[in-house]
Symmetry: C2
Amino acid sequence: MFTLLMSKLYLYPACELINLRDCPMKFEAVTIKDIAKALGLSTSTVSRALRDSYEISPETKKLVLEYAEKINYHPNPIALSLRERRSRSIGVIVAEIANSFFSQAIDGIESIAYKNGYNVIISQSRESFEREQIHLNYLTSRSIDGLIVSVASETKDFRNFKDLHDKGMPIVFFDRVVTDIDTHKVTVDNYQGAYNATRHLIEKGFKQIAAIANSEVLSISRERVAGYKAALADQGIKEKDSFIRHCAHGGLILSEVEEAVSGLLEQKTKPDAILALSDKITTGCFRILKSREIAVPDEIGLIGFSNSDLTELIGPPLSIIKQPAFEMGEIATGLLLQLIESKRPVTEFETKTLAPQLILRESSVNKKDRPVIIR
Amino acid sequence: MFTLLMSKLYLYPACELINLRDCPMKFEAVTIKDIAKALGLSTSTVSRALRDSYEISPETKKLVLEYAEKINYHPNPIALSLRERRSRSIGVIVAEIANSFFSQAIDGIESIAYKNGYNVIISQSRESFEREQIHLNYLTSRSIDGLIVSVASETKDFRNFKDLHDKGMPIVFFDRVVTDIDTHKVTVDNYQGAYNATRHLIEKGFKQIAAIANSEVLSISRERVAGYKAALADQGIKEKDSFIRHCAHGGLILSEVEEAVSGLLEQKTKPDAILALSDKITTGCFRILKSREIAVPDEIGLIGFSNSDLTELIGPPLSIIKQPAFEMGEIATGLLLQLIESKRPVTEFETKTLAPQLILRESSVNKKDRPVIIR
DNA sequence: AACGTTGCCGGGAACGATTGCGTAAATAAA
DNA sequence: TTTATTTACGCAATCGTTCCCGGCAACGTT
């Protein structure tokens, strides 16, 4: 290195000096050429030796491998990507990272991706259609091999996803899936989750149960509301349209939750319990009830979807429907990698539906029954 | 496209058919060559036209740009990376994504990186030295342009970071910094944060204030403990070694927090307040006090570092020292990009210290004073 | 009329790796 | 000995870009 530098300096002193300044030297890239030159071999031989090709003699292999080890050679992943036309990275679009459900899911995604030598590139839609589409564009222009998506609350137009999928981009949806696009999907049994929670409320003596859901177009909202309605029907309770509210931004904006709650409380017969059908709505709802000094569960019972560990510590501890987020991330990634690495185009897609977990605590237990704390 | 395919099919029917099967067609890569061929130009001309070079006539430019737009051309970032020897992606290593502080910081990192056309590759150490080093290795072998790190609790040996930095890899530390390595750092005024919290406890009438900190080697632990001690000293309270506990894994394992709390409660004079000096420890601590049915703050007051929004909803609402996590992520990324894109090697490094925010709620207010709820 | 400028463009070598093909030497088979 | 076969390696193309050259017109200058 030193001698090399010196000789170059001798030939082009100024040029080299400038170069040294301009390039902060980065990571001294030791390439296959360096090995070839040092060992008096061709790059092809070195490459094959490193890949343990049968065409290379054991002695040469040993030589190459030892030298590569010695100078700490690592194949340049970018060169590989260019040649193999795959980047070995997958894109992820979620509403927001700082949401327990998504961060746990990303955790799962990352763990499987890492094990298989893939990078994960994360972006957040913040429930905005526009941001989602921008990120979609950006990610695809960055040549990712596949995509894992939980669509934004605002999104009503799935054409871009559809086009992308039709063009051959492997996509796996999780949590909030797009029913119209035929690909792998990973969800929780939202219907059952909402059904069980509603039924639980009824069993605990609540009569007037309202529901606040995420955006109407979202798959999870439809399924959860359906579960809620079914549970009411099964218990002979008539559903009221005025008891079902939606938050277009998934509760990301507290004011929309506030509006939903207000809408419920202003009615002639007020609800005695609220079923919150999305993470942010659950905690948002509690926040509002608390600020209005409405006692939970004595005045209004509360249960909702949530993946936060801290719900247990809230006063009163919140009953929640918890999704196996980490597992969902793992499964989605497994399916995606399967799609990416499949030799032939995949035409059979599956929808994995996991079981949600109902964790009952104090917030959903009517005073008559208190304390029935099941954990 | 169709005619092209047909002519190829005519020449190499079998070959093409196999190809079509093996390659799930991916993303139909429209390249600069396609444009050149279609327009009867050379690739150099097209490239230059796209980059608006002065060497290209306005007419040709127009032609190329319009055609490129029409067929939706996007430069292949991988080819660019190979040529420019930069991947336009930065690595991030944090303890765990599903931790409010880190997810908020990542949020900030991602926003700035995205604006500047960089990808973010995230990995989690889970406070383990081994995992951290594995990820460090992996990330550097994936040719990232720079690194943002908050070191793991377990890490005592910073040689790999140091070596990497010495080799020219731009690194920015945030939150948990490595004092020995001279590079940009972004922290919060940990000393002041702990000082103010301690002082607040004293003012609220607590006399026996204990502290539970993260791993001893961590910069944040040292600074926070120092602030705690200083506040005691300033108020003429003698510090007790037995009142300072450490959690080697940063509270990631609840049992170590349990052990720390037990250690405090077993003493002849028990503490009447606990200062938790790390996110996980704060909530872990509360969790344990609650499970032991120790009233907060009546029996033991509690305040601690935390970035979770839900601390407000806990019963009783937790007083916290909150870090501007999002902002820290933004600043760290800005500094990193500055480092990456600097023409000449940077030798002057700065440490940005932001102000923590003390949010006082009920958990740190002694009964005599209740209710003094400052928000 | 001869020569220098300028404008505009193409050829081709990189970047780092893989791989189909060709081929020399060494060995085996005839 | 001649021919076939194997062994072990090198050449060169390729992936998509950029950019250093070099070239060829059409000018303008003397």
